[in-house]
């Protein structure tokens, strides 16, 4: 199933346009590759890098396709230990603090995140060179994540950044109008953070006595039907003879 994937150098080797771009314009910054396709830079030089990518002598990334914000705080944590069995059998998928079972009361204890808690990926497309690139920045501050806004470089960043702020609470400095976008008026919290419960915090109800819609704490219980498991494809039991 898993073929060996090309290394970082071969990613650049395959694509001459990108190789030239890196040689001429991006080698002055510190960077490394993640997952063979995403280039990670330091957030300090975000605006310079993005301006260069949008307009330079080699290749122009005219379109900002998407901004993907990620919360890494639950990364690699499974709800069911599949590796070993003991005399009572396998563990069951009932770990109380797993992300599927968070409630408002439960406190966040997982600290398994790889480097930093928050990151954003900028997915860029060059129409003229028919080429894509993913640029990633980790937010230095885990508690108050912030990045510089790219609205001055691509107008379409406006709503993408508002969405990332709304759903993950990343503040984009320099954004002209950083309001919530998708959630309700007066919503509290950032739903796509891993410590935000899947069942939510509040539910709405029509109160007959007050004759209006009221908010109240959720009355449903979190439930995990299929636990999250991580199985390594090299474990042996997956290999067909």
């Amino acid at each position: 199933m898993n073929k060996s994937k090309p290394s970082n150098e071969s990613y650049l080797k395959e694509n001459k346009i990108l190789r030239d771009l890196f040689k001429k314009h991006l080698d002055i910054y510190e960077y490394y590759f993640e997952n063979n396709s995403t280039v990670v830079f330091n957030q300090d030089s975000l605006i310079e890098i993005m301006t260069t990518l949008q307009n330079n002598s080699q290749i122009n990334f005219e379109i900002l396709i998407d901004i993907i914000a990620i919360d890494y705080s639950d990364y690699g944590i499974s709800e069911w230990n599949t590796g070993s069995a003991h005399n009572k059998g396998y563990s069951r998928g009932i770990k109380k603090n797993s992300s599927g079972r968070y409630t408002y009361e439960s406190s966040k204890t997982n600290t398994n995140q790889p480097k930093k808690r928050f990151a954003t990926i900028y997915n860029l497309l060059s129409i003229s060179s028919n080429c894509r690139i993913n640029i990633k920045f980790y937010c230095d501050d885990d508690d108050n994540p912030s990045l510089a806004s790219v609205t001055s470089i691509w107008s379409s960043a406006d709503w993408y950044e508002r969405e990332a702020y709304d759903l993950l609470g990343i503040v984009f400095i320099g954004h002209p109008d950083l309001r919530r976008l998708l959630t309700d008026y007066g919503f509290i919290g950032h739903p796509l953070r891993k410590d935000f419960p899947l069942i939510g915090n509040v539910e709405v109800n029509y109160d007959l006595n007050k004759e209006r819609v009221v908010y109240q704490p959720v009355t449903i219980k979190p439930r995990v039907l299929i636990p999250k498991v991580i199985r390594n494809s090299d474990d042996g039991d997956n290999e067909d003879a």
């Binding site: 379109i63 998407d66 028919n130 995990v224 991580i230 199985r231």
Partner: protein
């Protein structure tokens, strides 16, 4: 009376031409729009959050509900991203079936867009004609998946069922005589492919009919020509894709430029506009329907000539056949594992995009090696389009807002997610 220069008006969220639940705060000066502030999220269902709590296959159905007028195209991007991370092979027949249904979906979407757009501007009859043809295509959906809209037909590794050899038929009732029924069932005597082939031979005439009603219609032109002009440079800046970008004169189509599945082997053209106004985008979409028809014909030809597998036989990802589950131990185990736990994807990040009827629909999938997506980001084409509404309506009259919402082909299922 005080001299009021400008005032603010609320538009929607319950307005027939808001295409769902769009709320606009319009700042007006007389009847001229100074600023439009779209308030979205009234249909936010947290698809991305829900997907994080489910094994991969259980979220395919959610994809249908994103852009609920082009269901299978959404599924396509999702299964492509899973396939890319798993690195599995899809049988060629499945690729042809997927492409055929992608194009059927494109026609479905454009028919609804055409009907609704014309209705918004005041042409009632186009809507009725468009829905006549939509009905036939919905029957194709139903024949292949059992549902008219939310098909859940594509699976990682292929499609769930092969094309049926017979079409469901109308039955005689007290409202329809035998003669009428026979006429309705005429095209349904053969297989699904015969039915689609019959549709393809009828459809270009239908498009001519719509065009006869609109293309040279004086009122239609008055309402769309030079309305909502977007230049090429602004279209790039605003993140436009699909017909919105092509309407502004950029020949960009993922089916041609970054071909996926078997698009590189098919013969079709990309229509582009020149002015970037509502009328050009209308012409682009009309021509796209004709091109889709052409692609479907080529797929039918291939599918009739070639038999084969329709889903990968890798039983870690796809369900084993019912017979083998009852007889073969291995298959029994695979079946149990697949439906109780799903499958794990290798750690990694992928982005897969398809040329959706509305533009570039992309799925960013981040996996931490588990049986559920760690993060799923849906790149909905309508999202940047609606974000540009403020720029597109500024300086226009209030009635043009409706024309511009129509030309953007907005569907809130995908924008709000």
């Amino acid at each position: 009376m005080p001299d009021i220069k400008s005032f603010t008006m609320n538009f929607g969220p319950q307005h027939p031409s808001a295409h769902g639940v769009l709320r606009l705060i319009l700042e007006l000066e007389g009847e001229v729009i100074k600023r439009a502030d779209p308030h979205i999220g009234l249909l936010h269902r947290g698809t991305e959050k829900l997907a994080e709590s489910k094994p991969y296959n259980q979220s395919i159905g959610y994809m249908d509900r994103l852009d609920y007028v082009s269901m299978m195209s959404n599924e396509h991007a999702y299964v492509l991203s899973i396939e890319k991370l798993l690195d599995i092979n899809v049988p060629i027949r499945a690729k042809y079936i997927r492409v055929m249904f992608d194009e059927i979906t494109r026609i479905l979407n454009h028919l609804l867009w055409l009907g609704a757009h014309a209705l918004d501007i005041g042409a009632m009859s186009v809507f009725l004609y468009a829905f006549r043809e939509r009905e036939d295509l919905m029957d194709c959906y139903e024949a292949v998946s059992g549902t008219r809209m939310h098909a859940t037909y594509y699976r990682p590794g292929g499609v769930i069922k092969d094309l049926p050899l017979s079409m469901p038929k109308y039955e005689e009732s007290k409202w329809k005589s035998k003669k009428e029924i026979n006429k309705l069932n005429e095209a349904r005597e053969g297989s699904l492919l015969d039915f689609i082939e019959d549709f393809c031979s009828r459809f270009p005439k239908c498009v001519d009919e719509y065009e006869a009603l609109l293309t040279d219609n004086r009122i239609w032109k008055q309402r769309t020509v030079d309305i909502g002009i977007v230049s090429k440079e602004r279209a790039f800046q605003l993140g436009f894709t699909g017909p919105m970008l092509r309407g502004s004169g950029v020949a960009w189509d993922l089916r041609k430029k970054q071909p996926y599945e078997i698009y590189s082997e098919l013969d079709f053209d990309i229509p582009i506009g020149s002015n970037g106004d509502c009328y050009d985008r209308y012409l682009v979409r009309i021509e796209e329907m004709r091109q889709s028809n052409k692609i479907i014909k080529q797929c039918i030809k291939w599918l009739k000539e070639n038999e084969g597998e329709i889903i990968s036989d890798n039983n870690k990802i796809t369900a084993p056949t019912r017979d083998s589950v009852k007889e073969d131990m291995e298959s029994h185990i695979y079946h149990f594992k697949l439906f109780t736990e799903g499958y794990c994807l290798p750690e990694g990040e992928v982005y897969c995009a398809v040329e959706h009827p509305k533009g570039e629909f992309g799925i960013t999938l981040i996996s931490d090696g588990s049986n559920k997506p760690y993060r799923l980001k849906i790149r909905a084409p309508g999202f940047p389009h609606l974000a540009a509404l403020n720029e597109m309506v500024r300086g226009h009259m209030i009635s043009d807002v409706v024309a511009i919402i129509g030309t953007q082909d907005i569907v809130f299922g995908e924008i709000d997610r």
